[in-house]
Symmetry: C2
Subunit: 341 residues, 2 copies
Amino acid sequence: MATMKEIARLAGVSQATVSRVINGAENVHPEIRERVMRWVRELDYQPNANARSLKQRRSNLLGVVLPGISNPFFPDVVHAVLRESYRHGRSVLLFESGGNAYHEWRCIQRLYAHRVEGMLLVPVDPEAPHLKRLKSMEIPAVVLTQEIDGFPSVSIDHREGGRLVARHFLDLGHVDVAFLGARRDPKLAGFRAALLDAGIPFGDERVIECRAWHEEATYEAYLRTKEFFQQAGRPPVSALFAYNDLAAIGALRAFEELGLSVPDDVSLAGFDNTSLSAVARPALTTVAQPTQEIGRIATDLLLEWIESGEADESPVTLVPRLVVRESTTGAMVRAAGEASR
Amino acid sequence: MATMKEIARLAGVSQATVSRVINGAENVHPEIRERVMRWVRELDYQPNANARSLKQRRSNLLGVVLPGISNPFFPDVVHAVLRESYRHGRSVLLFESGGNAYHEWRCIQRLYAHRVEGMLLVPVDPEAPHLKRLKSMEIPAVVLTQEIDGFPSVSIDHREGGRLVARHFLDLGHVDVAFLGARRDPKLAGFRAALLDAGIPFGDERVIECRAWHEEATYEAYLRTKEFFQQAGRPPVSALFAYNDLAAIGALRAFEELGLSVPDDVSLAGFDNTSLSAVARPALTTVAQPTQEIGRIATDLLLEWIESGEADESPVTLVPRLVVRESTTGAMVRAAGEASR
DNA sequence: CTGAAAGCGCTAACAG
DNA sequence: CTGTTAGCGCTTTCAG
């Protein structure tokens, strides 16, 4: 591995001069510059970023921590992050927390060890105590896909997303609806609120609990959904809202096995508008997040913070968009209405 | 940001002692160790990995370069890579080449600048001249999903994958088949070979050219497929083999628009067995790659190389597996046969 | 315009 | 068992 010293020796100049050439300083004689550059090219020399980082107190490193890259929602945001980071001369370290708060903290520590200039975080638990510790590290960190006090964030309005689905169900004539996901999911809050506004009570017996960020989200959703619908004395359900597309796919399988047709027997909506939803059978009605925007904006925010030294903590809230496809209909409710008339 | 010097001062010992404690050296008095550790915990101190890297000539960094994380094939391999790297105390830098050879080289250079201990590469072009340069960098690099001379690699046997599809088509009674993808794709070679073995000629007029690794693989496949099937005087085609699931999805859309039913009018097979293929309508017949295995084995290989200092260049070849779902059938061919009788 | 020298935070001999 | 010291490869005053 070539070092600057070596280049200096070869070119017959001092290390300082090589440094100047490498860093494009103006005050170097053209001839010398050329002589140095020749050796740089000859040896494919690249300055050691670690040494540089040490001296300049600036690592050109950014860190990303997310539950798991396998959820098809994340590749798109990572793609945008990578793109934007690269454009600004930063390299990115990627970590998976596996949806585990303690492990998330370990990842953060690792990033800190590398002295990343900033990090992008998709936190497992907004209440996790390590977030305070992160704060005290004084390293720029922006939160993705949710709002957390004390951090800048970029996310969509999840409550509004839930509301969108509720209103869609309502418009279709559904009254007996259910939610598949976590009890404290803001999507559920919005969903429930819109229902209540329409005079439709929505009790906890209508949420099918299912752990978010779970590695095998699809499978768990499949299981929980199947259990729920087989359960004696369960409330009637003509439309189900799943907390994400992965879970919706699981529910889809469950319905298939239960002999329930989507959307003829039960309507189904997902969330995220991942590639899966367009391709599923039937194509899933879902709520789109501007995935790449999220990644891009978050990265830009982070970079600005790094460069300016001060955070803009006002959360960026993007708007969700309902994408209606084939998995939701009101036909079944209307038919029932006519039959009972 | 705390430094070792600071901890040393606070604990009233020398920096060397702190270093010993941090690195778990045996020969430190328990009391002193505890005193130091107290401060380490107090300040959430983490040794600066860059400084360490400089001194130890070992960065604990691994690099990954792939065309784009958005192809659903990659998240799973990255997941495995991340997992395995973390287990071995390494952090990973992720780069996207965007399927561009020059950009790939830039990414490699960046990784080199960070003095990664090794890299995992999904090369854009096996012939790209920069691979030689990479070689001369003398930094361990293993290639994923293809074999390249001079590098260890882990991939499936793509020719065999192509053969599998050809034989499946043949078994179903198809004779008029086509390939959607790049002319020099080894899958095509295997596909063609199996066809030829069965006495079925397969000329270039039956390959629908479509750029691999393209950002918008699905869309391009859609376009090319549509063009091809609308073309006057095109050869008859009752079964199409797409180079990956993304492309197959594109073809699916094209067939939909053309009013051709899959599989009743034309059978369709993809490649990779991504989550998309199971969820598509109709569910795609495809060839499965052991995605996580690829990531895990490649990482292990790389780590061994790093640790031992010598490469095992014999390529690891994993076996592809045909996954038959709903998008392929022989019914249509049989019907035609009966009709002509 | 160029070189000498100090030092970023850490590890690793080497003394003691 | 502990401290002193010399760099790792680079940038950056400060002289010249």
